[in-house]
């Protein structure tokens, strides 16, 4: 997403002299800005702690800095700087996980997987956490980040458009889930690259005559409680799918909303089940080995596993007749 991000960054910088960027060895993301406004595009080398500290200092001076680094490193190596200098410091800094989160790095190894980014960034008071699904949404998220005062994390999308609607029909509002498909037999909630898996699961169910509701939860914090609770009321089961650890990420956030509201709707969280994805192979290979697939979603809806399977609401009348 270097290109759409860099284009919007330049557009924002052109409109507002406070907008600037600090890059942690992510030159491609600031190159157009550097060409036009060299003083406002700062390369600081491979040093995440310094990246966040410098961004905080720029914000002390009233700037709106975008601090750009690789997802696992910019959320973990400098977690304390993000928490203390940006969160506690209440700084208007936009942290950008540049090359994709979750297990997008596939066989390049667990050092480069950002399976904890959602949980970690969500932990920080006042932090907004967004993971767009594709280029179009990335542009909207970056624009929204510049406008919203306070610390902000974006895990940039990677890959082609996943949302099937034409651009003019799409909308992006922070904290608002996107209803991709209407349905009442189940709700599938995806984030980032797993929106594609959610849509495919929807196709598979549709081929069996089952209409699943599909929500894209690009804003993991603050999460769209209303959309979740509406889904809990109107559909008998909710399945979340993410490439992250299910602890504290999208699944964790949805679980918190459901539990606190006393919704009682069965929830299945698909994602990494408290394990590292240790294997060689592509992103898809990892996802299929660790059960982060459209098929896994379908299986959970048709043949629920775990404690939820015994819940009263699993007598899913919408599925009657399905073997």
């Amino acid at each position: 997403m270097a290109k759409p991000f860099a284009r919007v960054l330049l557009e924002l910088a052109d409109a507002d002299p406070r907008v600037c960027a600090v890059s942690c060895d992510c030159r491609g993301f600031i190159a157009p800005l550097a060409e036009q406004f060299p003083q406002r595009a700062i390369e600081i080398g491979i040093a995440e702690q310094n990246l966040i500290g410098i961004a905080a200092g720029l914000a002390v001076r009233g700037k709106i800095p975008f601090a750009i680094g690789m997802n696992p490193f910019v959320t973990m190596r400098c977690f304390e700087q993000v928490r203390t200098d940006l969160g506690y410091g209440a700084r208007n800094v936009k942290v950008i996980g540049a090359y994709g989160g979750g297990v997008v790095y596939g066989g390049w190894g667990c050092t480069h997987h950002a399976i904890e980014e959602m949980a970690l960034m969500r932990l920080i008071p006042t932090m907004t956490v967004v993971m767009p699904a594709d280029a179009w949404e990335t542009e909207q998220a970056v624009r929204a980040a510049a406008i919203r005062e306070g610390p902000f994390y974006i895990s940039l999308a990677r890959g082609a458009a996943v949302v099937e609607q034409p651009e003019e029909a799409r909308s992006f509002e922070l904290g608002k889930a996107v209803l991709l498909r209407e349905g009442d037999a189940a709700t599938i909630i995806g984030v980032g690259p797993t929106v594609a898996d959610a849509l495919r699961a929807g196709d598979l169910l549709e081929s069996q005559g089952i209409a699943a509701r599909i929500l894209e939860m690009h804003t993991v914090k603050p999460i769209d409680r209303e959309a979740i609770l509406r889904a809990a009321e109107e559909t008998p089961v909710i399945v979340t799918i993410e490439e992250h650890t299910v602890i504290g990420g999208l699944g964790g956030a949805v679980a918190e909303v459901l539990a606190e509201a006393g919704a009682g709707t069965p929830l299945k969280r698909i994602g990494l089940q408290d394990v590292f994805a240790v294997m060689s192979g592509s992103q898809q290979d990892l996802k299929s080995r660790y059960g982060i697939t459209a098929e896994a979603v379908v299986k959970e809806i048709l043949h629920p596993s775990g404690a939820g399977a015994h819940h009263k609401d699993t007598k899913n009348t919408k599925l009657r007749g399905v073997p």
């Binding site: 500290g53 200092g57 002390v60 700037k63 700087q81 506690y88 209440a90």
Partner: protein, 276 residues
């Protein structure tokens, strides 16, 4: 202007600043008489703060957020009591506030807190954060093409945090001559710094990273004034002052101590040593 009155004015200025430093120490000691306090490191930098707040920094206590101000960052945030004292004396808030140290809803905090205390630009307490923030602030000022400066006071033990050296590298690379680091070299953390993790040759380390370095006696007020009035030491380079100090300076019986809370007799003795 002829030399003699100039010299006399200078002597008066130094005497005035020495009195300010003594007053900061008295206020810190009184705080340590009421509550737990990182007294040692607060006292070691009292002379540096007196010179900064009463001679060097461009500030407006009635408008702490004034964009024309020089920025000050206390990276050794646990030593905030002497900064609180300097800010109160400079008029950012009433001196009586200092009697509320660590009390419920006080506007001063156990570690420097920008969200509670007027005049504090950056919240600190976790070591190794302040210099990077100073680098960012100095870069922002350069973007604005403004003359403001950024002063960061660091502890010496704090320099064991690797993040400092990322910031040291970046400041030199970006030629930030509007950034001044002052190392309160009091030689002690919870124990002797050189025994716990050697920093020497400390001036060489900064110089080899591209900073312009001066080493001074951090209790010689005239030397602190001369040094800080001459920044930047070189165009195009950040400046660092290694100020050799004594931890607990001014109260002989707590020298080298990290934390000290005084009982009544100790408080009397400490104030007596400070001529109060």
């Amino acid at each position: 202007m002829c030399g003699v009155p100039g010299q006399q004015n200078r002597n008066e200025l130094i005497a005035e600043l020495e009195e300010k430093a003594r007053r900061i120490r008295v206020l810190v000691v009184k705080m340590a008489g009421m509550s737990d306090c990182h007294t040692g490191g607060a006292l070691s930098m009292a002379d540096i703060l007196a010179v900064l707040y009463f001679r060097i920094l461009t500030l407006d206590p009635r408008n702490p957020q004034w964009s024309g101000r020089d920025y000050f960052i206390l990276s050794k945030g646990h030593c905030v009591p002497s900064l609180d004292a300097a800010l109160a004396m400079r008029g950012f808030f009433p001196e009586e506030t200092l009697t509320t140290h660590l009390e419920r809803d006080s506007m001063i905090s156990g570690h420097a807190c920008a969200r509670l205390t007027p005049g504090i630009d950056v919240s600190t307490g976790s070591l190794g954060h302040g210099l990077s923030i100073g680098v960012g602030c100095a870069l922002g000022i350069k973007m604005d093409r403004e003359p403001n400066r950024v002063f960061v006071v660091l502890g010496d033990g704090e320099l064991q945090e690797g993040s400092n050296w990322e910031a040291v590298m970046a400041a030199a690379h970006h030629r930030l001559d509007n950034l001044v680091a002052i190392v309160d070299r009091n030689w002690y953390q919870t124990g002797a710094t050189e025994e716990m993790m050697r920093l020497e040759p400390l001036a060489d380390k900064w110089a080899s990273f591209g900073w312009s370095v001066l080493t001074i006696d951090g209790h010689d007020v005239a030397a602190i004034v001369d040094t800080l009035e001459s920044v930047p030491f070189e165009q195009g380079r950040p400046s660092v002052v290694i100020a050799n100090t004594v931890k607990g300076k001014g109260v002989s019986f707590i020298e080298t101590r990290h934390m000290a809370r005084f009982d009544e007799a100790q408080l009397r003795a400490a104030l007596h040593e400070l001529g109060a």
